[in-house]
């Protein structure tokens, strides 16, 4: 059944959506969308490293993204620059360095568009294994750190005072971010991964009144986006990543109707 490239893409996308749903909610709640972007941009460097040293792409993207996250934390501690400036600095310089390195690697043919925007044709059986096993691990770890992570998202000092160790949860969450980017880069492409994290979660926010609901709706939104996006990609021969993100945008716009409704009810 996995012989069909489209089935593979669908199974991969569904696996990714299960993980980006809950992770995306935390990205929205903790205001980490630029952080996600930065990690995703640095993924290009990870890809070049994979080709240069013949490593698995997901593994080397994960390593590079984690390193960039660590560098960011150090820069935040040691400089007085605002967070968004540091994020921009790291995002664009790692993207630029990645592109320069690609220029040197003349012996390899790169599908730049595929890297930036995702390529369903490129999903292999190995990728499926990485997505589902890696994704399962990400969700498992997220469940384990749920209490301290969520409590410190609401209020850091409460979590710290009442003995939940929020700093450790935050560090682990950063690694999870690097991991989701690593496993979803082939599907959505590095320019659009953050969209996959944020847009379904933002959609879910519009129609939820508690955190649990928001996570469930975020997962459902992601799944629908993947399914609609991939089918339309097949139909119109559009790149997979942008098609998925466009589908999620349409869902977001529909969710705005619900907000309008509930505001009418309030008044």
């Amino acid at each position: 059944m996995f012989d069909d490239f489209f089935i593979r893409a669908l199974v991969a996308g569904i696996g990714v959506a299960f993980v980006t749903g809950p992770l995306g909610c935390f990205v929205v709640w903790r205001r980490l969308s630029y952080f996600g972007d930065t990690l995703a941009h640095s993924a290009l460097l990870g890809v070049t490293m994979a080709y240069s040293f013949e490593l698995n792409i997901a593994v080397s993207v994960f390593i590079i993204s984690s390193v960039i996250a660590l560098i960011l934390i150090q820069l935040q501690k040691k400089t007085n620059l605002p967070g968004d400036a540091l994020l921009g600095l790291l995002a664009h310089s790692s993207l630029a360095v990645g592109l320069v390195v690609i220029g040197f690697l003349t012996f390899i043919r790169f599908d730049i568009m595929g890297l930036l925007f995702g390529d369903i044709l490129a999903v292999t059986i190995d990728d499926l294994l990485i997505i589902w096993i890696g994704g399962g691990l990400i969700l498992l770890v997220l469940k384990l750190i749920w209490k301290p992570l969520f409590a410190s998202t609401v209020n850091y000092e409460l979590a710290e005072a009442e003995g939940l160790n929020p700093d450790r949860a935050k560090a682990i969450f950063t690694i999870l971010m690097a991991a989701i980017i690593a496993i979803s880069i082939k599907m959505v492409g590095l320019l659009l991964i953050t969209g996959m994290l944020i847009i379904p979660a933002a959609m879910a926010r519009n129609i939820s009144d508690n955190p649990r609901k928001m996570i469930i709706f975020s997962i459902i939104g992601g799944l629908l986006s993947v399914i609609i996006g991939l089918f339309s990609s097949l139909e119109f021969n559009s790149p997979s990543g942008p098609s998925i993100i466009t589908a999620s945008l349409i869902l977001f716009i529909l969710s705005l109707l619900k907000i309008k409704q509930s505001m009418h009810l309030k008044n």
Binding site: A151, N155, P211, K213
Partner: protein, 248 residues
């Protein structure tokens, strides 16, 4: 090392510095089981900082902190809930510890906000939110309660009721309370030990000792001092929970 098992948290000459500026310095105090320690002092005198040192929120501190319990309930001075996070009162109640439904209801009804259980936190008034914060802190039956201006924004009758509740909780749970308040009048009735701060410890002791202290008079004025001593003089009886008066 603590030999006294009643000690919950002990600060020894503790201080905290941020950007080369001392927020508070040289604070020594002890919170024991069943006792209420109150921090008073003007704005910016380091009351909240001292509380955060005691709680272990600030880690790079001067001096020593010894904390002997992990069962802590905290009401911070400021909590802002972001709109991006949909949160009902019932979700907030189980933020740091999973509780049974009955325990949630009990705590909420103690602070008079049981009817708000399914409301969104963002839709509460300041006073209602404060009551929810207090309910959350006591719901886990902590050994140490740290209350940073717990009744701000609560209406006057509610304020008195909440202070009575705080006193009752300290007796019933035998927990130690570190209380920060501006309201000298109400606070002094329940306090065992007062620490008067102004960047450092001005004076400390029983409410009556502090009221007599010269530095305290300088800091709060003669009137505050009288308020305090008047109160202490009245203190020849106690109110039981049923509301009748017992002579000491």
């Amino acid at each position: 090392m603590s030999i006294d098992k009643n000690i919950l948290v002990k600060l020894k000459d503790a201080g905290f510095r941020q950007n080369d500026k001392w927020l508070v310095k040289g604070v020594s105090l002890v919170v024991e089981k069943g006792k209420i320690v109150t921090l008073i002092g003007p704005n910016g005198s380091g009351k909240s900082t001292t509380a955060k040192i005691a709680l272990g929120i600030y880690k790079k501190i001067d001096g020593e902190v010894e904390k002997y319990t992990n069962k802590v309930g905290y009401v911070p001075q400021k909590v802002s809930i972001d709109w991006t996070l949909p949160l009902r009162v019932s979700d907030f109640m189980v933020l740091t510890e999973n509780l049974k439904d009955e325990a949630i209801n009990e705590a909420l009804s103690l602070t008079g906000v049981e009817h708000l259980k399914n409301k969104n936190l963002g839709n509460l008034s300041g006073g209602e939110f404060q009551r929810v914060l207090l309910a959350r802190a006591i719901s886990k039956k902590p050994e140490l309660l740290v209350l940073d201006e717990p009744v701000q924004g609560v209406d006057f009758t509610g304020e008195i009721a909440l202070y009575e509740l705080i006193k009752k909780i300290s007796e019933e749970l035998n927990c130690g309370i570190l209380l920060i308040s501006h309201d000298l009048h109400t606070v002094m009735s329940a306090t065992d030990h007062v620490v008067c701060l102004n960047g450092h410890v001005c004076c400390s002791g029983s409410p009556i000792d502090v009221a007599k202290n010269k530095e305290y008079k300088v800091l709060f004025g003669e009137q505050a001092s009288q308020t305090l001593s008047i109160y202490e003089h009245k203190h020849d009886h106690v109110h039981s929970h049923e509301g009748d008066i017992k002579k000491n």
